[in-house]
Symmetry: C2
Subunit: 310 residues, 2 copies
């Protein structure tokens, strides 16, 4: 009888908490069948990722906003775009994006390849063809696309540009966090327990600490935080649940970058998403745990960029 109860409990708990398990970061991210990795493609993608000259104003690269010297984004609330206007939302981190299946705060892309079309359109001031043209005008790129996408009639096109970029981005992995190495101290372990018992894990589960789905924010309207941080300005206030990996580095927080400190972000989340007022001790423990999700960012060797002309 006791065992039957335990079995039922296990079944029910696994079922109802289907998204609630945490997992270590897998050593390698999934690689799509139609975009296999190769050293040449990764290197090409890296050059393109860093090359400002392929944007229409010739001053923006992927690396301009996705800073791989620190957080994989730019630590800004809003970001100036190539056309001079500002983004409405904070830039998500590129670190470990290889493990995600949903991109942009509105979840409007389902692969890194698809995601990169957004920034490339911005870099082309509304037209990706402008970027393709700039890439094609650099002799080395024209040749290299032919070498890598050798079987295709038009090797240098938007699709292959996004494939090369995605291939490089799939190398931007931050392994060996304290969490992944199972090196949590007592306070951090308490934080992990709270993370589960308070309910953070409901949305921030899995290896990436995200359900990778859209979620209403705030779930519980009417809090002071909602007014203070302008959380409810946009009519359909549903946002892609962001990863918590490297969260220590990616302030300011939320879609609108309205909160600067991790402690405050924890308070806001508990209140608006779970209707809970945390005591300060628990806030500290949760933040301490979240800081164990900071991985080792691989040092990047800057690529040599090709000459504009032969």
């Amino acid at each position: 009888m006791f065992f039957r109860i335990v079995l039922v409990w296990l079944f029910v708990s696994n079922f109802s908490f289907a998204y609630e398990e945490l997992a270590l970061l897998p050593r390698f991210p999934p690689i799509p069948a139609d975009n296999p990795q190769s050293a040449e493609k990764i290197h090409l993608g890296k050059q393109l990722f860093f090359d400002q000259r392929i944007s229409e104003p010739q001053t923006f690269s992927c690396a301009t906003c996705h800073n791989v010297m620190s957080s994989g984004e730019n630590n800004l609330r809003f970001s100036q775009k190539p056309d001079g206007t500002f983004s409405r939302h904070a830039v998500p981190t590129v670190w470990n994006s290889a493990y995600l299946n949903s991109f942009f705060w509105g979840g409007g892309a389902s692969s890194l390849e698809e995601q990169s079309e957004g920034p490339l359109e911005e870099m082309g001031l509304g037209d990706t063809a402008r970027v393709v043209k700039r890439v094609a005008a650099i002799p080395y790129y024209a040749t290299t696309f032919k070498t890598i996408f050798v079987d295709e009639p038009v090797p240098l096109n938007l699709k292959n540009l996004t494939k090369a970029l995605a291939a490089y981005e799939r190398t931007l992995i931050t392994p060996d966090s304290a969490f992944d190495r199972n090196k949590l101290n007592a306070e951090e372990k308490s934080g992990l327990s709270l993370f589960k018992s308070v309910g953070c894990i409901n949305c921030h589960g899995g290896a990436m600490f995200t359900s990778d789905t859209l979620q209403a924010f705030p779930v519980y309207p009417g809090s002071n935080y909602e007014t203070k941080y302008k959380l409810n300005l946009e009519p359909d206030h549903k946002w892609k649940v962001p990863t918590l990996r490297n969260i220590e580095l990616t302030a300011p927080y939320f879609h609108n970058g309205s909160v600067g400190s991790l402690d405050e972000a924890v308070r806001v989340m508990a209140k608006t998403q779970l209707n809970k007022d945390l005591v300060e001790g628990d806030v500290k423990k949760l933040s301490a745990f979240l800081k164990t999700l900071t991985g080792k960012q691989p040092i990047q060797l800057l690529p040599r960029l090709p000459k504009l002309a032969d």
Copy 2:
């Protein structure tokens, strides 16, 4: 009698061509006595050089315009500045700037330290104090300045910021050009002879291929080039003679970036500065020689940037 004539000729030629000798790039640049190099200072300078967050809009670093993945500048005519306005002149290359004693197109600075105050002022939207404040707000920088400038009452100030940046920039050397390795082919050797006989060497001498002084441009007014490339727009049209090292990479050319091809730049120079119309064969030879001045750009390992807050 013959030997006396030769001796007189040697004396006269050495005298009249005092600035006209070329030299190999010295293995190490001069280091000012008040800013000795150290590994720690160079690394700090490198972090600051790449850190966008120290500019007032948090989006501009030295590396934004001085691209060390390619030409040491940005291959643009005019460059958008942190305040949104555009520069009036093209960005000079940071490569080998350690060997220069005159900076900016107007020659307004005489050391790398002094030079860096200009961009830092732009990054602070007119006030370098804003940049110092942003640097000081990042805990790691505050600590590191204390460690490196240990004997000073105020370790983190503008002066030491420029010292750290200059220390890093003095490592941005491109050695081993074909010219420095004495590996010129026949066409390039002809180009070198022309470089001397046509008179390019009058201003572009020394190890850096520049007199490092201001020079009228155009010297001979009234050419078609003057109108075509708007060479005479500014009242006092005297500009710092730029280095020709890595000239192959630093298009577009001249203070106003008005000429895109090296061949055309050679034609314009010969006509406006020396009143000579070159035959096309000589243009090609001169360009071929100038391309032997492309050195080996050292691959840069991107630094890890410190966290915004502890």
